[in-house]
């Protein structure tokens, strides 16, 4: 399709990133984009060294990043610890599904970000409110995918296990959970993305530390260099946690990945 350039692909990619960097340097150095609107590479570097070495918004870059990662991981873990079992149960038990689904249908259309004002009213500006909204954000994809994972299991597998008199507990740990695992991981990836978005929003609305707080302070100080540092940090952290999850997936689902190749 098109003109094939498979060999030159990565080279072109590299060149386009380099071109973008050059363009960035060019438009800021010539004053085409004023320094008050978008930082130059030098501004970016200065802001980066400032926050890393001397700190900004009450802490160093590492401290803010750790605070954000801590909240995302905690909210995410609470969400999967509650969401995945609930999804598995709804997939397994038709009565549970019938009872829980309507409640779910009511709550689900409310975007996680819309819980932020309520979370702040209930829990204030501390860690609790953030964990609550991350929980809401990550909970829904966990439940839906675990549920769909169970529902998509081949019926003969389950019937065979039932016929062999597999006890209920072994049924869940050895048949249901492994068979639903690929779908569950898909849900976890969506959950993780939702967690980051929600955390950044929650920290922007009100926080005392964290990357969103850095962004908020930089916005109030009209400090474009620091805004860019905050954005890049958000991107790097999102990428790193997603990569960690993919690694966990490959470990946990080695059988499945091997089967796919």
């Amino acid at each position: 399709m098109g003109n094939a350039m498979i060999g030159g692909r990565s080279w072109i990619g590299l060149a386009s990133v380099a071109a973008l960097l050059l363009l960035w340097f060019g438009v800021t150095a010539t004053g085409l984009v004023s320094a008050g609107r978008f930082p130059s590479p030098a501004d970016f570097w200065l802001s980066l060294t400032q926050i890393s070495l001397r700190g900004y918004a009450g802490g160093g870059l590492l401290a803010h990043a750790l605070q954000s990662v801590k909240l995302v991981v905690m909210g995410f873990l609470v969400a999967i610890a509650t969401g995945v079992p609930l999804g598995l149960w709804m997939g397994w038990d038709r009565r549970a599904e019938a009872a829980i689904n309507p409640v779910f249908l009511i709550i689900r259309p409310i975007p996680p970000l819309a819980w932020i004002p309520l979370a702040i009213l209930w829990l204030g500006l501390g860690d609790g409110a953030k964990i609550m909204v991350i929980w809401f954000a990550a909970f829904v994809p966990s439940v839906i995918n675990a549920y769909a994972g169970v529902r998509n299991i081949d019926r003969p597998i389950i019937e065979a296990a039932q016929m062999l008199g597999t006890p209920r507990w072994r049924m869940i740990t050895e048949i249901i959970a492994p068979a639903a695992a690929p779908m569950i991981f898909t849900g976890l990836r969506l959950s993780l993305q939702a967690s980051w978005t929600t955390l950044v929003a929650a920290e922007l609305v009100g926080a005392l530390a964290g990357i969103g707080f850095v962004l908020n302070m930089a916005q109030q100080d009209i400090y474009p260099g620091m805004i860019l540092v905050g954005m890049v940090t958000v991107g790097v952290l999102g990428w790193a946690t997603t990569a960690a999850l993919s690694l966990a997936e490959r470990r946990a689902l080695a059988w499945n990945v091997a089967g796919r190749d």
Binding site: G2, A98, P112, L113, P117, L118, L204, V234, G238
Partner: protein, 262 residues
Amino acid sequence: MQTIPLKTSEKWAWGALGLGSFLGLWAALSAFGIVPRQFLPSPLDVLTRFVQLLTTPFAGATLPQHLASSFQRYAYGVLLAAVIGVPLGLLMGWFRWLDAIVTPLFDGLRFIAPIAWVPFAALWFGVGIGGPILIIFAGAFPPCLINAYRGARFVEPRLIEAARMLGTGNLRMILEILLPAATPSIVSGLRVSAGLGWQSLVGAELIVAAAGVGFMMVQAQANVATPTVMAGMVAIGLIGMAIDVMLRQGEAWLRRRRGLQA
């Protein structure tokens, strides 16, 4: 898995039980003061407040007026994302060199949560309409691009070979082969975009806006007006649901039409 589906009556009974216990628990928590009523109003309080807000202004406008200004931003942001994302995705699906140029940049930007654009949005646009539009665009753009791109890349190769043999040029190839073949994928991308855009809108309005339903909720939060916050959540949920239902209908309609044609 319990392989026998429930009877319809049983399903309704369990559903009513679930919903009843949810609302009952909520009402009880609030009525017996286990959670102070100021922070957890009863379901009835929220409903009353919702109805009130339809005619009484809060934070400068009534709920329908806030929703109207939210919806205007939302429409601009999502339309902009579709108008740029879909054609770019199709072009990337056809021209390999464009794919090679855009993909690394796109992948780099994608990990930045849309909401992280808020400070620049505020810097560039103040509390005007541009800020929320930028954030909605950032949220809605990726699915438009990705789905158009995938749709174009996975077109039946035979169709392309046949068209090529007949001497079809690039423009006609994209408009008459890739676009129709990619339409189902594009439409489901638009549905995802619409949902993400609505989410981003709420986030944007919580921070950079002087009107809109998100702004109303932040003002209510500052005044500890919990029923108003919750009424806002209800309104956001209802509109989000309506958007999703409409797009699902559209998608189903399109599938039926194409199914008949095939």
